[in-house]
């Protein structure tokens, strides 16, 4: 199947966009269902069988709601913000493989060799919208930082205190967490030696072990930073009913609000794909992915199913973690990013560099990761608590102990 022909490309784009947007709709249902189950409730179950038509009803409601544009907003930017939010989120999907891909050929000397390698490359089908983007992960991060513009534009143009404060807080959070997010990935990129997401997944499939075993600390940092980037619940500071009402989307209504919320779920899906590809071996699953190697179509479908399954697992984990960990205070949020995650990410990167330089086995990195994490635990009282004078307790009132 020639992937670079416009008809096939159009089919892939329409299919993927439809799939992602449909998934986003059903993620909202899953969110409500999982919330309900964890709270011992049943969740929405009235619209359609077992509530399965609920997202359609919700979407329809968004379209039918009155479109309120307050008189005090800056209309151009106010209308642009949801578009920026949802467009950056959707654009990032373009380079993310959702099934097996073939690594692009290395540069060839001479026109004939180049043409031949390109022709060979084009004869394979890759489950990705833009397969040959060699800066893949960089592109995803670049669009991730553009997502801040959606937040800032929304907050500033709305001309309201709640929106502005929410946007300030949210953009500070997103910008801060981009650094550990990038740091944690750098180690992986050094090990694999490529920025192309398909190549990274292919490397893990070829080596038969996932990078999460080599880089557990990086995975942990990435996971936390990805939740913070997507404003998922332990870090959902932008939306705070008590202080900020709705945060940066306070003044939005109807489908514009729908876009804002949709962008968050699209980020979740993208992050799910990226975690699966960077750390969980993409489409490899302990050799199970090779059982259909006889027929290319079945094998490709199986690999896509494995990768999408991993992504869904990540999404489900995000939904569960939402009700597990209480949200952080804003100063805690910032000190975790700047005082813990960035130094850890840097130390991890240095470890990877040393191991690469001296050609040590990658197992050393696992030991380094665990050691670094333990060191964080031993570094007493410095990580997340603000320093403030605490009066010494007398012998009569001994310090209470916290048990594990």
């Amino acid at each position: 199947m020639p992937p670079f022909e416009s008809t096939y490309l159009a089919i892939v784009i329409v299919g993927l966009m439809g799939g992602v947007l449909g998934l986003v709709g059903y993620l909202t249902l899953a969110e409500r269902k999982v919330s309900a189950w964890i709270q011992d409730r049943l969740g929405p179950n009235r619209v359609g069988p077992a509530g399965l038509l609920q997202p359609i009803a919700d979407g329809g409601k968004f379209f039918l709601k009155e479109e309120v544009i307050p008189r005090h907003v800056d209309k151009v930017f106010y209308l642009m913000a949801p578009v920026v939010a949802v467009a950056t989120a959707l654009l990032a999907i373009a380079v993310v493989p959702f099934g097996s891909t073939v690594a692009p050929p290395p540069p060839q000397a001479g026109v004939a060799g180049f043409e031949a390698s390109q022709a060979e490359y084009r004869s394979h089908f890759s489950f990705v919208m833009a397969p040959a983007i060699d800066i893949g992960i960089l592109y995803v991060f670049a669009l991730g930082s553009l997502a801040v513009y959606g937040v800032i534009l929304a907050g500033w143009s709305a001309n309201s205190k709640y929106s502005l404060l929410g946007a300030l807080r949210s953009s500070a959070q997103i910008i801060s967490y981009e650094i550990p997010l990038g740091m944690s990935v750098l180690g992986v990129l050094l090990i694999v030696g490529s920025l192309n997401l398909g190549t990274i997944a292919g490397w893990q499939a070829q080596h038969r072990y996932w990078l999460v075993f080599v880089q557990p600390l990086a995975f942990f940092l990435f996971l936390v930073a990805a939740y913070a980037e997507g404003s998922r619940l332990p870090f959902d500071l932008p939306e705070a009913e008590q202080e900020l009402v709705g945060g940066y989307h306070t003044e939005y209504s109807s489908m514009k609000l729908g876009f804002m919320l949709m962008a968050e779920y699209v980020h979740l899906v993208t992050a799910g794909f990226i975690v699966s590809i960077l750390f969980f071996g993409g489409w490899s699953l302990f050799g199970i992915e090779t059982i259909f190697d006889g027929s290319p179509v079945l094998a490709a479908i199986l690999k896509a199913v494995i990768l999408i399954g991993k992504m869904l697992f990540y999404c489900a984990f995000a939904l569960i973690i939402r009700w597990t960990i209480p949200r952080f205070r804003f100063d805690q949020l910032m000190s975790i990013a700047w005082k813990v995650m960035i130094p850890l990410g840097l130390a991890n990167l240095v470890c990877v560099m040393i191991v690469k330089q001296f050609q040590w086995p990658l197992l050393v990195l696992t030991v380094c990761s665990v050691g670094l994490l333990m060191a964080t635990g031993l570094w007493h009282g410095s990580v997340s608590m603000p320093r403030r004078p605490v009066r010494k307790l007398t012998q009569a009132h001994p310090l209470p102990r916290v048990g594990v």
Partner: protein, 186 residues
């Protein structure tokens, strides 16, 4: 008056140990709890299909009790209407028919405005002959205000329904409403 220094008790933040600083055991604990609940038993009542089991002393729609011969038990003493804080009971008394032994009056009209009622249960507490009681019927609806004013027949039919359904109200201090409700000694 300021608090004496000796009475102030100072407390420091508890020191976090190695595992607390790592957050990981706490997270594992939390995940165990949430995943346990995720697959645990649900407590939702599917209301329209599944009727709630209300306690016997629930204070819902009123009923007017009948005596053994099927006549209205009420003696039209106005105690309930007097006790009612919402003034929702209207009674018009009439002399009881001659063949009704042991009472002088009976209610010709007995109407309760179920929209004004606050379901406090004062009426049944005030009633000397246990003629008015609050039942476990809770899903009270109507299309007009007039419909929600329950007259004597309606209130008696509530009695018939609840008796037929076996959902007689049970008070925690049931049967001991007052000396006047007890059968006359001797």
């Amino acid at each position: 008056m300021p608090i004496a220094e000796s009475e102030v008790r100072w407390a420091a933040e508890p020191k976090l140990g190695f595992w607390e600083q790592l957050y990981l055991p706490a997270m594992a604990d939390g995940l165990r709890t949430t995943i346990g609940h995720l697959f645990g038993k649900k407590i939702t009542e599917q209301y329209p299909e599944q009727e709630p089991k209300l306690p016997g002393n629930y204070r819902g729609v009123h009923r007017l009790n009948r005596d053994e011969e099927g006549r209205v038990k009420c003696v039209a003493c106005y105690m309930c209407a007097t006790a009612c804080p919402a003034h929702c009971i209207d009674i018009v008394a009439a002399p009881a028919p001659a063949e009704w032994s042991g009472r002088e009056k009976y209610p010709e009209i007995f109407a309760i405005d179920e929209l004004r009622c606050i379901y406090c249960g004062m009426c049944e507490e005030a009633c000397p002959v246990d003629a008015i009681e609050l039942t476990t019927l809770y899903d009270l609806t109507g299309l007009s205000r007039e419909e929600m004013v329950f007259d004597k027949e309606k209130l008696l039919s509530v009695f018939d329904t609840t008796v037929a359904a076996g959902t007689d109200p049970v008070r925690t201090h049931a049967g001991k409403l007052g000396p006047a409700s007890e059968p006359a000694p001797g």
